[in-house]
Each structure stands twice: as structure tokens, then as C-alpha cells.
Symmetry: C2
Subunit: 148 residues, 2 copies
């Protein structure tokens, strides 16, 4: 389930290029933390990344992992799954619906779409398991944030 080496190498050099462009130092820790995410196929969280990097860099600290992760996210080198630095939000609307989320302020609005509710999913998906619901999240910059 790991990413293949040629792809990992491609990601590593992109990472190094972006860091140089931004004037960020290419430390041993940063390289190894990024490499870990670049080759992982399972979307690890900060703690898991920390444990894995520690096998190769025993002195790395958890706070460096966090700092690096957010730095990579700000540079657009990694993405986060689910909410970004946000708490769990609750919703009592049980009808099938989807969300528009502002990438900057987190504003979230419901929308419905019969078309989306009936999209055909790739057959390969069923090899992962069965399917209950399909939820579409549309991200963008909301009007309010665009004005500033």
C-alpha cells in the first residue's frame, strides 16, 4: 500500500525545490518527516508519523513533527483529510445533502443535488467494502473571505 519509489522521489524533489524557493532550510528532520508522508499509503496522523520517523531519527520530537506538518500544509505540499485544525461539528439534518466549505474561514453550507446523490461510483470501490453514503464536499473561498 506504500507509494512506489519513483513517485516518492518525485515528491521529494518537489519538496526540496519548494523549500529552496521559500528560503526554508532543508533539515534532516524535515526531509524525513516529509518522506514519511510521501511514501505512506495510509494517511497517518501526527502521532503515527512521529513514531515512524523516530525509528530512523530517534531524537526527533513530536513538536517538530507538528511544526513541520503545518508548514507543509501551508506550502501546499501535503493536504489534510477531514477538517483542518477544527473541532467536530454537528448536524441534525439527516436528509442526504452535501457541503460547501470555505477553505479560509470554515463557513459550511448545506446543499442538495439529486444528480450527486445518483452518481455512479467506480466498481473497484466495492473491493474496499460496502457503501452506505456518498458525501460531496466542495471547497472554495466564500464571498465574505473573497472580499478581503
Amino acid at each position: 500500500m506504500k507509494t512506489e519509489m519513483p513517485e516518492v522521489d518525485r515528491r521529494m524533489s518537489h519538496f526540496e525545490t519548494v523549500c529552496r524557493e521559500e528560503g526554508l532550510k532543508l533539515t534532516h528532520q524535515r526531509r524525513e518527516i516529509f518522506r514519511e508522508i510521501a511514501q505512506a499509503g495510509d494517511h497517518p496522523d501526527a502521532e503515527v508519523i512521529y513514531q515512524r520517523v523516530r525509528e530512523r531519527v530517534p531524537t526527533v520530537s513530536l513538536d517538530t513533527v507538528y511544526r513541520t506538518l503545518w508548514m507543509l500544509n501551508d506550502l501546499g505540499l501535503v493536504k489534510t483529510l477531514g477538517s483542518v485544525r477544527e473541532r467536530t461539528r454537528f448536524d441534525a439534518n439527516l436528509e442526504s445533502h452535501h457541503h460547501y466549505v470555505c477553505r479560509k474561514c470554515g463557513l459550511t453550507r448545506d446543499f442538495v443535488s439529486d444528480e450527486l446523490d445518483n452518481i455512479e461510483l467506480p466498481a473497484s470501490l466495492y473491493s474496499f467494502g460496502d457503501i452506505d453514503v456518498t458525501h460531496v464536499e466542495v471547497r472554495g473561498l466564500c464571498r465574505e473571505c473573497a472580499r478581503k
Copy 2:
């Protein structure tokens, strides 16, 4: 942006029915916490719900809000946006892709689909703001969890 009253009332009576069926006590706190989510149009988090309920029930405590929220979630009376009781996960795959997520164990697998990448979104969406990316999350029970 609040939910209209008739719909709130419908949700309230559904909530009461389910609680009775499950033998759960209909306390003042539970009613007001549920009402708050039922009428909110903005997907509040636990802290926000707590602050709003406190205006009407000044003695309510934050831990009761948390306990009630998870109870409602377990009963299927509310849903959570984003990850459920999970930490932020990271991903270095920047290509457009979607996720299959197991509702039980959180297993997450990437998948790609040209069809999904080209779905037509409702025009009304553009009234919220501009659109960067569309991400589809398919939820279900993975094979591993289904076997148990």
C-alpha cells in the same frame, strides 16, 4: 439561516420518540441540547452548542453537552461533519482523488474517478463563493470490519 420551525418540531418529536424507544430519559438538558442542533443552520461544535444552550439553561455543563452529543450521534439523531473523534490525517498525494472511509475503523483508501472529477455542480453553489475542489467521501463498512 436557521431551520424553519415546523421542521424543528418534526425533529424534536422524532428525538423524543427515539429516546422513549431506547428507554433514555428525556431530561431538560437533553431536550435543549438537541433543540439547539435541530434549529442551528451552521453546524456548531460542542463549545458553541454549550454557549448557546447556556443562555437558556445556565446550569448546563460542558461535559453534559459532550455526553449528549455522542449519545445523539450513536442514536443516529445527529451526524458529524468531517472526521469522527479522529485526529487530523495527512496526505502527500496532490492529484485529484477521493476517499473511501470505513465508518467503523476509519480505514481510508484513495480512489480516482474522472467521472467524479467532472460532475456538474448545482449552479446555486456559486452563490456561496468560488469553487476550488470537489472531494467525494464514500462511507461504508470495510471488508475487515464486516467480517467481525
